[in-house]
Amino acid sequence: MSEITIMVVDDSPFASKQIKDIVEENGYKVIGYAKSGEEGIRLYDELHPDIVILDIIMPGIDGLETAEILMKKNPKVKIMMLSSLCDSGTLEEIKQIGLKYLVPKPWENDVLLATLELLNRQ
């Protein structure tokens, strides 16, 4: 079975490195990083990853807007949002654009992995 590929869109190298370490130990492959929503959209077109992990608070277009653009390009895109902002209002915004998964920063590794598993089974 081929590896499940992931693209990380987060302006923080801390988050990107931590995610790479944990997911690659667990059978996923990070094939690209982007530091902004704009870069993430360009890179998605090139790489076509199975899953996109997307931070919400970023310079330029934020993660929610980036998710909406990616979903217009590919309605079947699998996106996991990641944010320090995890209140009920943010969850509601995420649901409104058609997404299901928001992992809080700082994350627990088992929560991150369980969420990826759920997303992958979609």
């Binding site: 302006d11 801390f14 608070i57 944010s83 320090s84 902002l85 995890c86 209140d87 920063k105 700082p106």
Partner: protein, 164 residues
């Protein structure tokens, strides 16, 4: 909700999240309670803002040693490249303030959003914010160094009362 209540939520988040992210216990101190102006010349500064029901400007001042501890620990134990150090401190502040503002949003059931944090090597650009407001003040010490936090905040209710 008062400025002091908002400040208490930020206080909890600074303690809890710092322990989780870098395994450092921040001990709250009462230093400079009367003198709210920044007195430390050396160190590093961050500014992050909230917009919405709570409008706040949060300014953090890190001592050199705490700054080094944060960026090294978050980079797996070694100092990150020069061009990336601001991004590590930005993320530290973003995670703590996001944690606090999420709690506040759930408490008041009204939304506020966070800006992208900004990193400063000197405090000069931030003086006007501190001079034109009466910030709440939090000070911490730890084995890794010192942190001071200035929180200038108001709620939509305060702004309506001011307008009336």
């Amino acid at each position: 909700m008062t400025g002091t209540e908002i400040c208490d939520v930020f206080d909890e988040s600074f303690g809890e999240v710092t322990q989780k992210l870098i395994c450092v216990d921040l001990q709250k101190t009462t230093e400079n309670k009367k003198n709210k102006m920044p007195v430390l010349q050396h160190g590093y500064w961050e500014l992050i803002q909230t917009k919405g029901y709570i409008n706040a400007q949060i300014i953090c001042h890190f001592s050199e040693d705490l700054f080094q501890c944060i960026i090294d620990t978050m980079n797996g134990g070694c100092t990150p490249p020069k061009e990336e150090i601001a991004l590590y401190l930005n993320e530290y502040v973003n995670i703590i303030c996001g944690h606090a503002i999420s709690k506040l949003n759930n408490m008041v059931k009204k939304p506020s959003r966070l800006s992208v944090p900004s990193f400063y090597r000197t405090s000069e650009p931030l003086h006007s914010i501190l001079d034109n407001n009466q910030p709440e003040f939090l000070a911490y010490s730890s084995k890794a160094g010192k942190l001071q936090v200035y929180i200038c905040c108001s709620t939509e209710n305060d702004q309506k009362e001011d307008a009336e």
